[in-house]
């Protein structure tokens, strides 16, 4: 080993505390990057491979009923590659052990062979036999939720008749990577099932011989999807087409895509902060090292080492730290990615084992880390080697102290000696003080970001289910029923309150923009389901005109006062116009609301309703559900709150895991920054402090001078960190916004308190470590060495 390499290793050992701190910060930054990126790529490639292999379609349309030859005609649309016509029906299930009724979507499956599109992936059991009545293949989520195995049965009300369905197989489908019902924001795997049944059996059960009511199409690469959608709509309009949609509006696809988009954001923002802080730390630590080694650098130059060789020497030193950090970061990130991917696998069901490490991600991560580190280092090295060796060998000119501003103002008389020294130090090198403060502030900010997700989700749940949707269950009818039907329900024992609503699927169009949504007619008394702004204020529903979700208004590029075209997608498929009279700035969805009487008027129908929201007396749930199950018009009961609670239980667990990563890493960063600052301060001012010891200062007094500065900067950094953290959260909440969700910028006091506490804790811990250094200051050496 060459002498210079030995020097590097010994220098590294000498600064091991700082080296470990820096490497840890790098490891955390890289781990977040590698973890998020590899999760992202694992999910993306799993999804794409799944779509490809199982031929996930591009365009979807439901319709009332069309004869089979119509499907052939869809093939003639330019750009269409494959067409699959199906029968899809909703049925009510009576699941053993479940008091409330569940709903199921029955999808027809070819009697022989594979469907041309949306092939299912059989996990266990077999395909249903087209010659046997009632055999179905069930989607895994529902089956798992209830512990169904092939051979188990469940009762269903199909077309008004009770039939026993036998589950013969359990499968996955590219159409249902997540099983979310239309109009819902959360999957409810307990009460929502998807079954595939042979076409022949479906035709018989629903009197659909020679006809279909659902069409899926795939298009050739490069085809104009919007044009295909238009033509499908035109083709299916005479058959009660409900409006074709592309993948972008397909619920499962959109949910997964939104998640990936959010993951993309999260794989960029926090790692950038972490790596930025790491680069900053490297820079500070190296600058200090170079200052301390000023004379050594000069001697090396005097012996004939070139600036390049010296630069390489110091860059390698840093390179070793980065390499160690990167190695740990890659391992940690891979582990984290695996853990996160497993977590996603609970919500998004893919047929293949998901996680794989993309070496390009590791490479990109390491390259990023090295460049972040080297940029910081090179500047410091360059300025160090540029000085003439003779100049470098002379001690630096004495630092230029001036009375601080506070002293000039004359306030110093009230300050004792130690604070005065701290103050002068800070005013002498404000840039350094600012950098240290900024470093600690960022650590504080990261802690806030780490807890932001939880605060936001807690708030959303409270808002959505504490303020906005206060019903215990929502009931949907098979078809619109006269408004008076509600009065019979009002008498069901246990129902405390009931509010009816009218909901129609509609496409809302404004100039060239359009969007399919549910148009909801709400009653005048809105206590179970309230229309609220994000600030919790109740939004007025005028007797006429539409109130749109602000997100929908943005999609349609319209403002209050504009008139929109409403194309109703059921029944007579009437087309009407109505003015937009208000917007509701809500957190989720893209709904449109009207007064129920105005909606009935608009549709020129008698007072009819589509469903009702109910609140149930505590303890009466079971009897109410039993009663509802036997009410013929009731198609399904959704217990959104219970569904959400179940969902949140598992979600919270995973959220906790994510938080654990973030918060642990943020703690590492906080300690890393503070410890490093303290170490740097100690080595910079070691002489001065030792001299103070020599002239009679106690260890405590000397510590006060050094650590007091750190305490002061920490005190400054905490509010700054709050501000930066708030800004970052604001940025993240905007970046994470999707059409389905808007993430509220909510930060609870405990989040701030926690961040401050960790930073203070890190300061105390670092102080204790550095205090040991102060105790060991070599007073004799100071007096002997040259000034």
């Amino acid at each position: 080993m060459r002498a210079l390499e030995r020097k590097m290793i010994r220098d590294l050992l000498h600064m091991k505390g700082q080296a470990v701190a820096i490497a840890s910060v790098i490891a955390c930054g890289l781990a977040v990057f590698v973890g998020a990126q590899s999760t992202l790529w694992s999910l993306k490639s799993a999804r794409d491979a799944y779509y490809e292999r199982n031929r996930f379609s591009h365009v979807f349309s439901s319709l009332k009923r069309a004869p089979n030859p119509v499907a052939e005609r869809a093939l003639e649309i330019p750009g269409v590659r494959r067409v699959d016509d199906r029968i899809v029906k909703g049925v009510t299930l009576d699941v053993p052990g479940l008091t409330e009724p569940a709903t199921a979507k029955l999808i027809s499956y070819p009697d022989r062979g594979e469907p041309t599109l949306n092939e299912i992936h059989l996990l266990v059991g077999r395909h249903a036999d087209p010659l046997r009545t009632g055999e179905v293949v069930a989607e895994e989520a529902f089956a798992t939720e209830h512990g169904f195995r092939p051979g188990d049965t469940v009762d269903a009300v199909m077309n008004g008749r009770l039939q026993t369905l036998t589950i013969v197989g359990i499968c996955l489908s590219p159409e249902y990577i997540t099983t979310i019902q239309g109009g819902s924001l959360w999957p409810d795997d307990r009460r929502f099932a998807i079954f595939w049944m042979p076409r022949r059996q479906m035709e018989a059960a629903f009197e659909m011989e020679g006809a279909f009511n659902d069409l899926a199409l795939s298009i050739v690469p490069g085809a104009n999807e919007a044009e295909v959608v238009r033509r499908v709509d035109r083709l299916l309009a005479p058959y009660g087409g409900l409006g074709a949609i592309g993948r972008d509006l397909h619920l499962s696809h959109r949910f997964v895509s939104d998640e990936l988009k959010q993951l993309q954001t999260m794989s960029v923002i926090p790692p950038s902060i972490f790596l930025g802080v790491a680069a900053f730390l490297l820079n500070v630590a190296l600058r200090r090292l170079l200052t301390l080694q000023r004379e050594q650098i000069a001697a090396l130059k005097a012996f004939g080492y070139s600036s390049r060789e010296i630069s390489v020497h110091y860059v390698s030193l840093v390179g070793l730290i980065i390499a160690a950090g990167s190695l740990v970061g890659c391992l940690l990130g891979t582990w984290m990615g695996r853990s996160m991917t497993e977590m996603y696998a609970e919500f998004y069901r893919f047929p293949t084992t998901l996680f794989h490490v993309d070496y390009r991600v590791l490479f990109a991560g390491c390259a990023l880390t090295f460049s972040a580190g080297c940029i910081g280092v090179l500047a410091a090295v360059r300025s160090a080697v540029r000085i003439q060796p003779a100049e470098a060998m002379r001690p630096e000119p004495p630092p230029n102290y001036e009375p601080s501003l506070i002293e000039r103002l004359g306030w110093h008389r009230i300050l004792p000696q130690a604070p005065r020294m701290i103050l002068r130090e800070l005013t002498r090198r404000p840039a350094k003080a600012i950098m240290t403060t900024l470093g600690i502030a960022f650590a504080c900010a990261i802690l806030i970001v780490g807890n932001f997700g939880k605060d936001a989700v807690d708030f959303l749940i409270d808002f959505q289910f504490g303020l906005q949707e206060r019903q215990d269950a929502s009931i949907s009818f098979y078809e619109a029923v006269p408004a008076r039907a509600i009065s019979s329900m009002r008498h069901i024992e246990g129902i405390e309150a009931i509010e009816s609503f009218r909901a129609v699927p509609a496409r809302i169009r404004f100039s060239q923009f359009s969007r399919q949504t549910s148009l909801q007619g709400l009653g005048p008394k809105r206590e179970l389901f309230r229309l609220l702004n994000t600030d919790g204020e109740e939004v007025d529903l005028p007797p006429d005109g539409l109130v749109l979700s602000a997100a929908l208004a943005r999609i349609l590029h319209l403002e209050v006062g504009d008139r929109v075209r409403i194309e109703v997608l059921e029944g007579e498929r009437v087309v009407r116009e109505a003015p937009v009279v208000g917007l509701v700035d809500d957190f989720a969805g893209t709904s449109a609301y009207m007064d129920i009487r105005a909606l009935n008027r608009l549709l020129r129908e008698p007072p009819v309703i589509s469903g009702a929201w109910i609140s149930i007396r505590e303890g009466a749930e079971e009897s109410v559900f039993r009663e509802l199950k036997e009410t013929p018009v009731v198609a399904g009961v959704t217990l959104q709150r219970i569904a959400v609670e179940g969902f949140m239980d598992s979600f919270a667990e995973n959220l906790l895991r994510m938080r654990l990563f973030n918060v642990t890493f943020a703690c590492v960063i906080a300690i890393g920054v503070v410890y490093n600052s303290a170490r740097v301060a100690l080595s910079e001012r070691g002489r001065e402090l030792a001299t103070l010891r020599v002239i009679g200062f106690t260890r405590g007094e000397v510590s006060t001078i050094l650590l007091g500065e750190l305490a002061f900067l920490t005190a400054l950094a905490i509010p700054a960190g709050f501000a930066i953290g708030y800004g970052l959260c604001r940025f993240i909440s905007t970046a994470l916004e999707t059409e389905l969700y808007r993430i509220p910028l909510v930060l609870n006091p405990p989040t701030f308190a926690f961040a401050a506490l960790v930073v203070v804790g890190a300061t105390i811990l670092s102080s204790l470590l550095v205090r040991r250094g102060i105790d060991h200051l070599d007073m004799v050496a100071v007096l002997k060495s040259r000034e």
Binding site: K7, H14, A298, A299, K301, F303, G304, Y305, S306, S307
Partner: protein, 240 residues
């Protein structure tokens, strides 16, 4: 200044000036210095602190650049040297000894010498160089484990290990007691006599000037006098 015609000048300097800006103060370290250094001679640069002698030595060694004036090393104008030529010049031709030794604290004696021999053209073995200064017993000690005199002898071993053309010593005994100072001067004297290395020694101690061929006195950045010694004393016979 006259010189014997058969001896060539290693260094020729004309009208050197150097101004430092230290903080808010400007220091005129050299104010027009002309000097020649000849092959195989040992000169002593004498002067009080602040007389400019270190500056002159640093400029000759390529550690610093003059504010004005010219220096020739064996006929080559040093101001024409590029950064890499200057590095090569220091690497191949010059050995330095500093008042505060400037050893790398994280390296042992042997490794400190190896630091230089590893990049030199025709170096001695570090062990041989350390033997020349009587340190073969303490080769694996770190600087912090050695006395000042020992550290300075390591520095001399380090300087001569590359077999330089010139040896430049800046107050080599400045931080040492008398006895160790003599040992260090003996080492320098040996190198000059046995290897014929052109040597310049800076000191403010006029006793040391007895071991030089020529003594150059500096004062306030100017040459006050140049005296050729009739009799050159070996280091161990200096009158302290």
């Amino acid at each position: 200044m006259d010189s014997p015609p058969e001896i060539q000048a290693v260094y020729e300097a004309h009208d050197l000036t150097k101004v430092y800006h230290m903080g808010e103060v400007s220091v005129h370290a050299l104010r027009g210095v002309d000097i020649h250094l000849y092959e195989k001679e040992l000169i002593v640069l004498l002067g009080h602190s602040g007389s400019g002698k270190s500056t002159l030595l640093n400029i000759l060694g390529g550690l610093d650049i003059p504010s004005s004036g010219e220096v020739f090393y064996r006929g080559n104008r040093m101001s024409d040297f590029s950064e890499s030529e200057l590095t090569r010049y220091r690497r191949e031709h010059v050995g330095f000894v500093f008042q505060f030794y400037n050893l790398i604290p994280s390296l042992t004696a042997r490794e400190n010498v190896a630091l230089v021999t590893e990049i030199a053209n025709d170096p001695m073995k570090p062990e041989d160089a350390l033997a020349l200064v009587d340190l073969d017993e303490r080769m694996d000690h770190f600087p912090s484990q050695m006395s000042g005199g020992e550290q300075q002898r390591v520095a001399i071993a380090r300087a001569i290990a590359k077999q330089p053309d010139v040896l430049l010593c800046d107050e080599p005994t400045g931080a040492l007691d008398l006895e160790t100072g003599i040992m260090v001067l003996e080492a320098i004297d040996n190198v000059n006599r046995e290897l014929g290395t052109t040597t310049a020694v800076i000191t403010h101690n006029s006793v040391i000037s007895d071991m030089a061929h020529r003594v150059i006195r500096l004062r306030d950045g100017q040459i006050e006098s140049i005296v050729e010694n009739e009799e050159v004393k070996p280091a161990d016979q200096l009158n302290w």
